[in-house]
């Protein structure tokens, strides 16, 4: 495997890991949503993300050609091999936390995957095209609910503001490009950070303003590490639960 392919595989894993970990988080809420309709919507989003993770993983597995399929990539890697953003592994917390996390992620995901539809890599562009329809809906839904909560009662406003303040430090990582990201940009595969960040800030700013929520400063200190395999303490527990069966009965077919 040449270096060029290695960077692309790493990049695909990041995309897959983001979708997989957030899907796992949302699945935890199955049967616990605040209303039946919300419950269905959350699990729909979780299923969409899981489908996207499968597409990215399958492509990454084929490309790296080391015999790892989507299951091996999801179930047989430990926390330090995961490359998801720290944002998506954060606990669900209360419903405002879940939705603000979703909204921050959806906004990035929408612009990121939107740009990937123009990727020089045809396969990536194809997967992006397919995913973007789902993500467009996710973004509309989470944005709408953030406005409803922020501009709702005094209590829902307070919860939403707290969630925004607490999750804010995990929103910079996506735009903090490392060697792998820069190689992808250079090859015309991925979009540049500056443009994405401007789009993200503009949309998040609009929605938070409508939600009467104070936006934290964009230049605030940002947490990072997920893309390099350095995670918060939450990911290990999430994986222990997710991977239990495969670890206990390795190689079982299902």
């Amino acid at each position: 495997m040449d270096a060029k392919c290695e960077a692309k595989c790493a990049y695909l894993l990041r995309l897959g890991d983001n979708a997989l970990v957030l899907s796992q988080r949302l699945s935890e809420l199955c049967g616990k949503g605040p209303a039946l309709e919300e419950d269905m919507a959350l699990t729909n989003v979780a299923l969409d993300l899981l489908g996207q993770a499968r597409l990215w993983f399958t492509h990454a597995g084929e490309l790296e050609n080391r015999g790892r399929d989507e299951d091996a990539l999801a179930y047989l890697r430990d926390a330090h091999d995961f490359r998801n953003l720290l944002l998506v592994e954060q606990p669900n917390g209360n419903y405002a936390h879940t939705l603000v996390r979703q909204f921050f992620f959806d906004t990035w995901h929408y612009f990121q995957v939107g740009a990937l539809t123009q990727s020089s890599d045809q396969r990536i562009a194809g997967i992006a095209e397919k995913s973007l329809k789902e993500i467009t809906y996710h973004l509309r839904r989470s944005g709408d609910l953030v406005v409803r909560l922020g501009d709702g009662t005094a209590l829902s406003h307070a919860y939403t503001q707290t969630a925004v303040d607490e999750l804010w430090m995990y929103t910079g990582e996506a735009f903090n490009y490392d060697e792998i990201d820069l190689q992808m940009v250079a090859q015309g595969i991925a979009p540049a950070a500056e443009g994405l960040r401007a789009q993200w800030l503009a949309h998040v700013g609009d929605i938070l303003a409508e939600a009467t929520i104070t936006m934290p400063p964009p230049d605030a200190w940002m947490q990072k590490g997920g893309k390099a395999g350095r995670h918060t303490e939450h990911l290990g527990y999430l994986l222990a639960e997710m991977q239990f069966l495969q670890r206990a009965y390795p190689g079982a077919t299902w």
């Binding site: 209303a35 039946l36 309709e37 269905m40 729909n44 789902e134 709408d144």
Partner: protein, 94 residues
């Protein structure tokens, strides 16, 4: 919940369907969310569908007690039924 989340009736026209059909009901705080919820609950997001949501309170239904008055007179007057006209083969969906 019944006060803040009123009941909505959902009508959906499927991709190749000719008319909206009543598919069920759901609770939602307003029309926008009723639409979103209907999409999640009843369409599994098939493309090309059209959804109508109507507040259940806005629907007026006929009463079962009026059945005789409303529908039975028609049955005694066969000339009201368009069954005496031969239909051309080409005409479908009638």
């Amino acid at each position: 919940m019944s006060k803040e989340w009123p009941l909505w009736e959902v009508f959906i026209r499927s991709q190749h369907g000719l008319a909206h059909k009543h598919v069920g009901s759901l609770h939602a705080p307003d029309a926008d969310m009723a639409l979103n919820n209907a999409r999640d609950v009843y369409t599994r997001r098939n493309e090309g569908v059209s959804i109508w949501v109507v507040r259940a309170a806005d629907i007026v239904a006929s009463s079962p007690f009026d059945k005789a008055a409303l529908f039975e007179p028609a049955n005694s007057k066969v000339y009201r039924h368009p069954t005496f006209f031969p239909m051309p083969e080409e005409v479908k969906n009638l």
